[in-house]
Symmetry: C2
Subunit: 218 residues, 2 copies
């Protein structure tokens, strides 16, 4: 398979969410123009994004919503259940645990860790918070994705241990830049950096709107 | 001023956070190599990023940590206080309200809105949750940045009202793609899309590690 631009993968997520909503509302077909308009992109971009993965839709008839949902779920690896561990049971971690969409999309948090002795053993959503020292043991049980929600200064150390345990996908919420070796995918959700980007735009009067660069973030 | 790449602005946030930590620990100078290593980038990239904004550091002596912190705070617009409103007092909104770093960095949440009658009037962090219907009145009071943390299907409607009220910077947490007119900057924090990106990488064995594209997200 050709190397797919990361911006395409990001848009596939957006298309999938829209299509699922439409399916729930009983919509059965839609054109690339309609999908583009709802996604804030162009019909040409929609067609190009999908063309990486095969032929979808019929000229003049558009896409079958349910068929496209199934295809996108397959492409994105969302047909299986991903086993997730969360390191850091602070405010962000707690918000994540309560985020019902995660489970619906196949991301099941199976273990939660913290280093604060006062939190160890507390129960949340049917899980018991485990000491961070047991991370390696728990990850050996077959965790696919680790979410890191610890303070910035602790994050690289946690990621190093996670990677050593064989986990190949990490979602980082710590407001810092982390490094992982080849063979591991790291994504960072950095709210502080996004806010600072807004501050920068306001003082420098840089108005990016929804330009190509921003599209990657959505 | 030249158009600054958004990836540069993202790295400035990372540099600033690192430099502040170093300053807190009493470190007074550091080289571009040291800053690069801690930021997961190259010394050449550090020098290039900073060169957009002037001349920093002395050859052979490196950067003065405090001077660079001051300069970066000025460049990023972090010397002033930004007045922020939050729309959506759900789980994500609540986590944001409790995120102390925001205030320390000059982002002060001054108003919170929700459409759920059961939440209106409840107090949180010294604020009283206001009905969403009063959004326009409150924004007219001089809000700089609006954080949107409402369900996906409600987000575009809120953003349209926010933009009409004259706000030019929006941070969106709804898992959907929003559009704003020219003159407004929109940033999206989409945790679900990041997780789906990890799922995609796992099933397609695409290992991006910390490549150039990922650097934008950190």
């Amino acid at each position: 398979m050709k190397k797919i631009p990361e911006s395409t993968v990001g848009r596939l997520s957006v298309y999938l969410r829209l299509l699922r909503d439409l399916s729930d509302r009983g919509v059965t077909t839609l054109s690339s123009e309609e999908l583009a308009e709802r996604s804030g992109t162009t019909a040409a971009q929609v067609r190009k994004d999908l063309s990486f993965f095969g032929t979808f839709g019929k000229r003049g008839l558009g896409y079958s919503v349910d068929e496209l949902v199934r295809a996108l779920r397959g492409i994105m690896g969302l047909e299986k259940t991903w086993r997730v561990a969360l390191v850091g049971a602070g405010k962000i971690g707690t918000a994540l645990l309560g985020y019902q969409d995660l489970r619906r999309q196949g991301f099941v948090i199976e273990a939660v860790f913290d280093r604060d002795p006062a939190k160890i053993g507390r129960r949340w959503n049917g899980l018991s918070i485990q000491p961070e020292s047991q991370l390696e043991d728990a990850l050996a049980g077959g965790i696919d994705i680790v979410i890191v929600a610890v303070p910035a200064e602790a994050a690289q150390g946690i990621v190093d241990r996670v990677v050593k345990s064989g986990v190949r996908a990490v979602l980082n919420f710590a407001p810092t830049r982390l490094t992982v070796p080849a063979g591991v995918t790291l994504k960072t959700v950095n709210m502080a950096a996004e806010l600072e980007g807004l501050s920068y735009a306001l003082v420098n009067e840089v108005w990016r709107g929804n330009d190509a660069e921003d599209a990657r973030e959505t």
